[in-house]
Structures are given as structure tokens and as C-alpha cells.
Subunit: 275 residues, 6 copies
Amino acid sequence: MFSTLAEETIRLALAEDIGHGDITSALIVPESLDQRAVIRAKEDFILAGMPFVRNVFSIIDPGIKVNTFFGEGTEVTKGSDIAEVAGNARGLLVGERTALNILQRVSGIATLTSAYKKLVSDLAVKIVDTRKTSPGMRYMEKYGVRAGGGYNHRFGLYDGVLIKDNHIKIAGGVRTAMGLAKQAHHLLKIEIEVSNFDNLREALDAGADVIMLDNMSVNDMRRAVEMAKGRALLEASGNINIDNVREIALTGVNLISVGALTHSARAVDISMKIE
Amino acid sequence: MFSTLAEETIRLALAEDIGHGDITSALIVPESLDQRAVIRAKEDFILAGMPFVRNVFSIIDPGIKVNTFFGEGTEVTKGSDIAEVAGNARGLLVGERTALNILQRVSGIATLTSAYKKLVSDLAVKIVDTRKTSPGMRYMEKYGVRAGGGYNHRFGLYDGVLIKDNHIKIAGGVRTAMGLAKQAHHLLKIEIEVSNFDNLREALDAGADVIMLDNMSVNDMRRAVEMAKGRALLEASGNINIDNVREIALTGVNLISVGALTHSARAVDISMKIE
Amino acid sequence: MFSTLAEETIRLALAEDIGHGDITSALIVPESLDQRAVIRAKEDFILAGMPFVRNVFSIIDPGIKVNTFFGEGTEVTKGSDIAEVAGNARGLLVGERTALNILQRVSGIATLTSAYKKLVSDLAVKIVDTRKTSPGMRYMEKYGVRAGGGYNHRFGLYDGVLIKDNHIKIAGGVRTAMGLAKQAHHLLKIEIEVSNFDNLREALDAGADVIMLDNMSVNDMRRAVEMAKGRALLEASGNINIDNVREIALTGVNLISVGALTHSARAVDISMKIE
Amino acid sequence: MFSTLAEETIRLALAEDIGHGDITSALIVPESLDQRAVIRAKEDFILAGMPFVRNVFSIIDPGIKVNTFFGEGTEVTKGSDIAEVAGNARGLLVGERTALNILQRVSGIATLTSAYKKLVSDLAVKIVDTRKTSPGMRYMEKYGVRAGGGYNHRFGLYDGVLIKDNHIKIAGGVRTAMGLAKQAHHLLKIEIEVSNFDNLREALDAGADVIMLDNMSVNDMRRAVEMAKGRALLEASGNINIDNVREIALTGVNLISVGALTHSARAVDISMKIE
Amino acid sequence: MFSTLAEETIRLALAEDIGHGDITSALIVPESLDQRAVIRAKEDFILAGMPFVRNVFSIIDPGIKVNTFFGEGTEVTKGSDIAEVAGNARGLLVGERTALNILQRVSGIATLTSAYKKLVSDLAVKIVDTRKTSPGMRYMEKYGVRAGGGYNHRFGLYDGVLIKDNHIKIAGGVRTAMGLAKQAHHLLKIEIEVSNFDNLREALDAGADVIMLDNMSVNDMRRAVEMAKGRALLEASGNINIDNVREIALTGVNLISVGALTHSARAVDISMKIE
Amino acid sequence: MFSTLAEETIRLALAEDIGHGDITSALIVPESLDQRAVIRAKEDFILAGMPFVRNVFSIIDPGIKVNTFFGEGTEVTKGSDIAEVAGNARGLLVGERTALNILQRVSGIATLTSAYKKLVSDLAVKIVDTRKTSPGMRYMEKYGVRAGGGYNHRFGLYDGVLIKDNHIKIAGGVRTAMGLAKQAHHLLKIEIEVSNFDNLREALDAGADVIMLDNMSVNDMRRAVEMAKGRALLEASGNINIDNVREIALTGVNLISVGALTHSARAVDISMKIE
């Protein structure tokens, strides 16, 4: 997995944690001491992010070896040893916090995504993420969503046309906005956000590939599905939570986007201890 | 507020969102159109992070003006206009998501910190954060903690000596570890983590400035306070939550560190709409 | 136009030209002398790239003013003054070569694109570019294509699914490859490269959005158009030149991609002289 | 060959092509699949740039091995296998376009330089390049010139004193300009541009090491050679092309600089196919 | 020793020395020639900085091996071989000057520090450095101080509270300043600068951990030690030199800070010769 | 003066000093307080480096104004106000140390250079610097040499051919080395290092432009001047100090290079105080 994006963030995270050095370890830990540490689950969760943990330690010291005991996207239970990390002791300690911060967050996202996914796993609907990610962490967080069984929405402003309310207002209407958007390069579909049936009809008529139903009630979504008749994919968006996701899925929408997957997932509890 | 650290993260966040460009706006929004947008609270929370929002827009276009209506650390209520942002429309749209992602997270942290703080505001105890921050976001997240009435623990491995269980194990005991740590530069205090009374006693005798009580029961913390007799500051750490924070505070510890402030705060709901 | 991508390349270009300084000007040109220079066309061409010229001089010295006399994408004739650049003389001289190198190349691309475009302007076909760009110059070169009346293909490996012969070989066939590709995020269409009719048929049946006809003869392209019956967009690719582009366009393909637009455009002749 | 300059451009080129990832390969190519690909000449040309191709793949994945079958600067014929590249399949595909874009351009420059060189190979004259290079590619493009049998002019504004018309105008004359330029550090020669015989005479009298004859006719160049009598090197510059280069060389000038070597060389045709 | 700080400076130093290449070696030294060079002391000094020399050569070429014959902080005598460096000859020559510039400076600092240290080695006082370091070299220079037997003061503005005269003036007095400073995070001590006895008394009463005696006479320092009675550490600062350091140490101050250790140490003489 | 090189070092220096912030000022100095500070000479010296001081403060806060009272290269006397710096107080304090570290070093270099220069000011000889500069500071330090009346030698390995003993050894002799070096680009002269008369004669015969006399005695230098008869510039190098520089100059050499100018200049004493 070659990603300069993840690596850049990892280097930034290491820099902000290490500064001019790990002064405690420099005082207490012999420079050439080798140790073995274990990364351990302190609760049940879906594991995701170990490739980034490898990146952390290989940036610090290519001599540190990381040996993983579970696959990405699998469930680990409280008390399980997830991986062992062996090599220079100062290197282990200097990478510990950054490695765990990433692993706890990315696994937390996978775990939350999986919870949503399980509630609708018998349906054709896809749980998708948003751009509401932690600044600098988008690449890793969207990876966590996939590991948890979700799907990614566009990565940024550059790889998908999504006409939102602000655009429609500026364009002066759905039709004009759709017309302008068709000039995008030929490998991109066009999605447009609507919040009422007039706009929905216009969007369908203008040939939108995907239509985002913004903050619609469950009843309105059901009616939107009937109106669309499969002419466009429909994405439910806004105020979706673990309690209403199944009801929304049952309306027949194709996609349900959940900002909370990335902006409000709880970090899972993981420790790293020298054995 | 001059901080290359925050700016570097903001540039990274903009780069990951913008890539080769905001293709939707390039198609729909006239290049030299000016607009005015409003940043609005969609729920009640403690506001924090507007200086970073200014940074976002000034990096994109120094011509965009941000006018803030509330001070940092103040409470805003659902429906309030927090700020207006005026200038080039493409610039507003290109910065919207990054600005909101930062503001929602930093305000979320301030709001959560404030909730803890209120529960113990009549006591001398300080609520402090940890290094369990979002990778790349430490500077901004620790700012959010202060805005919410909390205090910062050390910023990284470089600005505080904190001897943890892994260090004690390697050193071969509390006494040796403390002795080695005294070589740190003369402006740094020394904190050590203990999980039993033997270690606590050794730490006190060795002249620790601060002692972290790791995952101790409330009863044990109370006894630790008695043992310390003010010879060292005591920090409660591990499994602290909104339900037990006051009980812990009443033991008489000086500091309570809460990882959840930064690793599991929920993003608050904020929108930005072109008026 | 906010683009960190263009700016990064411009800074790199300035660094490679300037090194530790413009030693000739440092010796001969007084430090605080102001001058006015004129950028002039030495042949007829389509102008493109002046926004990047502005970037060059504003990076060197925000006090240098650039005043442009023609719009992007318009034709300028030999001898025309394109723009004037006024300010610190050392600044003008230090930016001259980098500014002209960019302007000559981007205008050269616009001019070549325009030549192709004119030959097929009465037809519905689009002339599109490729990823065969100068390393580091993709953003600016694709801008030149648009200025010349062409269209962009995907910007990189990240904003479009394009299944090429190497992928089909690894997947074991068109059908399998198409099936796997459908997992891409829902705003991306899928393009696949074919070089024979069996593969074309499979691609159509598998629901490809766009099909690239690789190095097909004009006759075969005509037959492909008949087979496709509009079920997918068809892109002619390989060995297209100014002599055969109209013949190819007349086959009815929707897109014609031309690598030469960016990899082999001749720089147009432009000078900058202090008046 | 240690060059941070080439590496910086290669990283920029990879970044602009890869963005958040090669989405097609991520969908279709198994993560740990190994493959072998062949880089093949699709026409006859002078090969140059394979060291940079190695850099491309070693940045992506140090495990990818590049095995080259021809030396730099040698002629390869249509259909020849230039090199094989073996290793992780996703890595091969992710580097393919960047590697080829560099190799096609640098070889194109070597090929064009070689064509000029052959026309004057029996004469003492040197074919030299200019600073009219692709932004960011100067180091690699000047390497291509050398591989094709040409010579480099200065690399930038920092490693050679070259007094041009703009400088002479500001200084108020050739003599003054030459006098000021003599303050340059003692390892640098001084070149000055002249376009008439008065200036030529002044430049010779002032002790110029090299004199650039700007856009002179062949007759005037011949006369300039007679006037100089070897007191300075003479460089022909401006409007030189493959048709007049020999006639110009026969005037006896010492150097002929050709901007087209770098700003308008056609990319040669090279493919990379998984075998 | 993992330090992105040292590495960043080393890369900057290599870039400023190498630019577009070592043109002399490129002309004279065969590309694949291997050689062995010896780094040799040309005078007696305390060695420090070899880890950074390793960094220099490993950045240039991981194939270059550095074999050191003396430990850091040990005394080497004129004529001693300090290390051998073996590998690609161009690599050795390209790194020579940067490696020596670092080694000569860092060893020079260690040697000067050691000279101060020896004069007071029978006393409890610590010789400490300041922030008066060469821009970009702080990490390496403070390393040199430690290697010479000195101690580090804070590394920067971020890892120690030091209230100086400018702060006191703004705060309106020692007491107010001390009160405000107590809000710093709980692992930081507080140091304050005083230049008279009134301020010293206020600082002691306000609970300063360390007090800097700014430019006090030896008599005044002696009296300050009596006043402090061990309630705070005392740091002598200003106009300290090799001639008065022992006299100052005998006053009983705890720390003596010497700016000259880093801002005015003479580089020691070291050569690197190919054998 | 546009220099990305100086700016990069200044940013690095600010980063290493500031880290996550100036914690003392953040506690004590009101955020929006404006102040005026004076930069004052604490001894007599030659001033150099104020343009870099401007850079420091403009990077921190463009609102800070620097007003200089002396020209670069002029002598300032103890007690003189060199400049005033006015603006945000936190900004002044955050830049103080970095600004002074640069100014003290660059002025120290100018002062030392001037001392050498004065001893030989009636002679035609030039005092030149070397590459023995502080890592990262070459651009600024060579500026200091010029400000003090000295001249620069080459800036790095890239802008001058200098054949040293290691090169001669690898080439197998002066003649071969000189022959190879002539391939350098036509704007570069060739300098070669010799340490005996045989090599000197070979170098002269081979047409060296400049010959470095390495560690020769004064008598030998005198004889070398006679042998050279003006056919090449002669540079005295090695063991030159303030005591022997005039005697060496009187031998008739053209250049005297002094490493100590940059590697061992003492920082001059300068303060910055809020008024």
C-alpha cells in the first residue's frame, strides 16, 4: 500500500509528539536496548489500521519488526494480543502513542461502521461516509470505513461532482446547475442535493446520476424512491443515526451517508506494553 | 496567535480536500462572484476554533473576511449566527468543509471539557488532557481543552518527564528510574506513574513532583492522597468518565486526566450557508 | 484560482533557476531600481497561462504588478504586447525565464489543441488530453488544453476508473475486471480499453460507461460505433495526429484522446523586454 | 547519481498522478501479486533517463527491481526491450505513467540533440542547451542533452554571469556592465550578449570571456569570428534550427545554443507492458 | 537516535552545498569507483558529532559505511584517525564538507564546554548552555554541550517558562508575572530573571523554582546565594568567561549559563582524506 | 532581496525555537498588546544582517515594522541603537532570539572579515571565504563576508570547478585531472590545488585559471608567484590568521582564503529591549 498521503500525516503526528526528543526515554532507557512489546485489545472491536502502525515504526526505525495476529476488518475480543512489536526500546516507546492514536481511531471508525452495516446487511443499501473527517486523517479514516464494511463517498472536492444547496442558489436553479455540471470530465457522474419534490423532479429530468435527499422524512424518502423509479441512485443524508438507519434503509434508498462514522466515532481502547 | 503547527495541519487538510480543484464550483460558480455566508450553530455548545477558521480562509484567499460574533470559550445556542464569511464565492465553498471540520471538532472538545469542568468547578482539582489526540491535530485540540476550561498536560514527549510503567520495568524500579530522570534540564518537573502503594511510597521518597495514580479505585486514591500529604501533586488517570469524575475529584487528587476529551469528543453540529 | 499544485511547481521552477541568486543582476542592476517590461508575442498563437505568470511574479515580489491585455484562450498575433510587468527590476529579471517557460508551454498546448479542435468543430466529438504530461506540470498543461477548446480526461489515477490492457490481463478478462471495478465509489464511471470486437462486446454487455478503442483502424472504429449503438461513450486512442483526426471524428466516436497535446506541443515564441 | 533535485520533481510527479491512490488497480489487482513488465521502444531513438526510471520505482517500492538492457546515450531501435521491471504489480502500474513520461521526454531530448550533433560532428563547435526547460525538469532535461552529445550552458541564474540586453540597457552600455560583472567570484567567466558590431567590439575590448551573438545573420557571424580572433568564445543564439545549424557552425563560432532541444523536443514512443 | 530535527538541517546543509551537483567530481571521478577515506584530527579536542556524520553519508548513499574509532565525548589527539568512511568515491566527496562542517563545530562546542567544566569539576555547579545557537543547529549544538560535560537549558520557548526583564516590564512586576506563570502545565518549573535584590526577594517569595541572576557582580551573587537559602536554584548569567567561571562557581550558584559555548566556539581542525 | 534559501533557514530556526509556542509570553503578555523594542549594540562592530532580521519579523507577523538606523557594512559603536522593532508584543518576543542569533553571527563575520581586510587594504589581494560555513547558514554567512569587505569563493560544489588533492589522487595526476575538468560548462573557470612546485608547473602548463597553494610557506608562495608570472590567479590557503595575513599578502598572491571568517567568528554582543 503506497500512500504518500498517509505517510505525510504520520510524519506530522510523529513530529508533534516527539519534538526535539523523547526526553524521558533518553534519560532512562539504554540507547541500544532491544525489547518486545504487545499491542492488546482492552475491549471488543473491529480491527483496522495495522498497516499504518507498520508505517509509524518503519519511519522511526526500519529495524523494528511488527508482527500482526489478526486481519484488517476482523473482530478482536477484549484481551486479545493484536500484534507484537520488537526492536530498539527507545524506538518502541517513541512510536507507541502515535501508533495507538491511529489504531484506536481507525478501529473505532471500523467498529462504528460495522454496527451500522449489520443493521442493514440484508438490504441492498450501502452505508457511505462523508468528507466530515478529522483534518489530515481523511485517507486513513476512509480506509477505516471500508474495513468496517462501509463504502466511500468521494474523497474530496476533486473526484466527484456534487451540487449542493449553495451551488443551486448561485446557479439559479437545479436545471441550470445540472447543465453546467455536464461539462465535467467524462468519467465523473453527477450528484445533486435536493430537499423537496420539485427539485427532485427537475434533477431526475435533467439526468442526475445520483440524488442526495437532504434531511427528508422517512415518508418523503419513500415517495422519492417511487418518483425516481431507478432513474437515479438516491442517497439519504442528514440526521441519520444508529436508531433510524434501518427504517431509512427500508425506504429503498440506494445509499445512506453517515457523517458520524468519521466525525464522532469513539476511539476504542488499546494498549501497548513491553513484555 | 503565531503557530506554524496549526498552519501546517490546515494546509494538509486543505490539500486532501481540494486536490486538483473544487470541480463542482469550477463548473457552476462564476470565477469572480462574491458572496456572503453565515456560520450557524445547529445545537448548543461551547465555541472554540474560530482563529483556525480565519487561518483556513486567509490561506485560500486573503481577500475573504471573517467576522466573528462570539468569543472563544463562550456558549452559543442552537440557531445562533457564529460568524459571517464574505468574499470570493469559490473561495468560500472551497474552505467550507475544512473550516467546519476543524470548528466542529475543536468546539466539540471544548464542550465536552466544559461538561467535566462544571461537575468539579467548586473544587481545586484541574481537568487535564492527554496525548490521545487526533494525529496532526494536537495543537488545535489542546487549544479546545483550554477553551473549555480544562488544562493541558505536556504537549509531547519533549516538554515533560513522565515515567510510565514501561520505563519503570526497563529501569528495574521506581527508585532507579527517578534517579536517572533527575538529569533532565532544570526547568522540568518529574512525574511518575504508579499503580500500587509500594511504588507510591518509593516515588514520594524519591522526590517525584507529580505522581500519576494509574487505574486506582476511588478508595485507593483517597488513601494515596493521605499518604502523599501534599509532598507531590497527584493525578488520577484511567477509566475516568462523566459519571465518576466528581467522586474522583472528591478524593482530593490535584489533577484528573481524561483521554476522552480529545479522542472521543463528538463533533458539534455547525453549518455554513450562503445567504 | 486557488491551486497549491500549480504554486508548488512554480516554486520548484523558481528554485531550480535562481539557486543562491541571480548573480548577474546582483552585480549590474541597482537593488531598488524599478522598471517596466513588456511580454510580447513573437508569432501567432492562442494565449494561455497568464494566471500562472501572475503567480510567478507575486511569489518573487508582491509589489510587482502584471497587467494583461488579452483574455485566456484568445488568439494573439505576432508583435502583440500580451502584458506589461512593472516593479523592482531585479524581480522582473529573476522571474522572466520561469514566467516565459510556463507561458510558452501552456500557450503552445492551447495552440495545438485549438488546431485539432478547429478540424472537428462542426462535429459532436470532444478532443481530450491524456496523462502524458510533463512531470510536475499536469495541472497547468491540462489548463492549456481547456483554454484551447479541448476537454480533460481524468487528472490522475485517483479520479477515474480506467481499466487498461494490463488490468484485463491480470483480472483474466473483461467481465471479471468490469465486475471488480463496480466497487468504485458511486460518483465514478468506468472506462475500459479494448482492442478487438470480442472485448468490445463484453465491455458493452458488462455495462461499461466509456470504452477506449485502442489503436483501431478507422474502419474498425466505424464498426465499433455501430455495435455500441450509444450504450457507451467511445474514445478513439492511439496514433492520432493532425492529419487523421477528422477522418477518425467522422466515424462517430464521442471522444478522441491525443497524447501529443501535452507531450509534444512546440513552445510558442514569446519575449519579455524592459522598455 | 545523488540528486535531490531530480528526486523532488519525481515525487511531485508521482503525487500529481497518484493523489489518494490508483483506484483502478486497487479494485482489480490483488495487493500482493508480483509481475514482470517490459519497457519497449515503439520507434528508433537515443535512450536517456533510465536512472530516473529507477528512482521512480524505488520511491514507490524498494522491492521493485529494474534491469536495463541498453546504456544511456545509445541508440535503441523500434521493438527493442529497453528494460524489465519486476515486483509488486500495483507498484508497477502506479509508476508506469510517471516513469514513461520522464523517459519519453528525456530520450526525446537526447534524440533531438543527437540529430543536431551529427550535422556538425566533424567541426569543433559545441551544441549547447538553454534555460528554456520544462518547469521543474531542468536537471533531467539537461542530462538528456548531455546524453545526446550536447553540452550544457549554465544551469540557472546562479552559476554563470550572462549579461543580456536588458542588463546592458539598465547599466547604460557594454563597458559599464562588463566592469560591474568583474566583481563576480573568481571561478566564473563572463558572457555578454551583443547584436551589433559596436557592442561586439566593446565586449572584446572589455575582456568578455564569451560573447553571445544574438540573432545575427550568417554573414554577420562570419565577420564576428574574424573580429574576435579567438580573444573570446563566440556563441550563436536565436532562430537556430536543424536546417541552418551546419551553415552556422561553418562560420567558426564556438558554441551554438538551441532552445528547441528542451522546449520543443517531441516525446519518443515507449510502452510498458506486463508480460 | 531518531531526530527529524537534525536530519532536516543536514538535508538543508547538503542542498546548499550540492545544488545541482558536485561538478568537479562528476568530471574527474568515475561514477562507480569505490574508495576509503580517513577522518583525522589535526589538533587535540573532545570528539562529538559522529552520529550526525553517519546521517550525512547515509542520506547521500546508504551503501557508504562509517566506522568510528572513538566514543562521543572522548578526547582525541592531533594526528588520530577518528573514523574511516568507505564506499562510492563521489558520495564520499559530496558529503565531505558537510560532514566536516558539522563535526568541527559540534566537537568545537564539546571542547569548549569541557574546558569550562574542568575548571569547576570539583563543585556541584552545572555549566549550562543557552538559546544562543546557530540558526538551524540547536539540536546538534546542544548535543555537543552534553558531550562536553555540560547540561542543557531549555531547548526553546516551548519547554520551559523563563520570565525575562521584558516580561516583567510588561506584567508590571515580579509578583504579577509569577502569578500568571503558575498557569503553565504542571510539569514545568518557573524561572525568572532578576538583576537586583528587591526583585530577588519578590521572586523567592513568589515561589520561583529557578532564579537567573542577570549580570550580577561576584559579590552580589554571593549575597544572593545567602538570601536564597536553597529555596530556589540560582543561575548565574551574563559576561561569564573562562577566566571568571571558577570565581563565580565558588559563590555557590547552582547553574552557570554560558552563551559562548554555542555562539562563539571555535571550530576544531579535522580533515578527511582518501587513502 | 529575494532568497528562498535564507527564508528556509529562518523558518527552520523559528520552528526549532518556537515549537508549539512561546509559553512564557502566552501566560504573561496580553494577546493584542503592542510594544516598541530597540536593538542595541553592546560593543563596537561592523553591522550586517538586518535584511534577515526583517525577514524574521515579517514571517512572524507582517504587521511588525522594523526601522533600521545604520547601513549594512557600516561600523556601529557600543551603545548605539541599531534599529527599532514595533508591533505585537508577543511577536516581538517570539522573534527576538532568532533575530539576534542571526544578526550577532552575520555581524560577527562581517567584523572579522573587515579586520582581515583592513590589514591588506592597500594591496590588490582579495580576502575570500570558504565552504566552511555553519550548516544551513551559507547564504547568510557569505553575505556577511561581503558586507565586511571580503569576497566570496564558490557557493557550493555546483558553481565552480575546484580540483583538490583527493581528485588529483583519483585522476592519477594534475594533467589528467585538468584535461577532464575542461569539459565543464563554458562559463566556469578551473581551479586546482597544489602543494609543491612540480604540481604548480603542471597546473600552469595545463592552463589552470586559478591555483590554490595549499599550506605553503611564505617563501614558497613568493616563489610560486614568480613561477606563475600572472598566467593564473594564485590563492593562498591553509593556516592563515590575523597575524600572518599581511605577510602572505605581500608575496603577491591574488586571493587569500580564510576558513575562520565563517567557521570561527565570534558572535558580537547585541540586545533587544522593550522600551
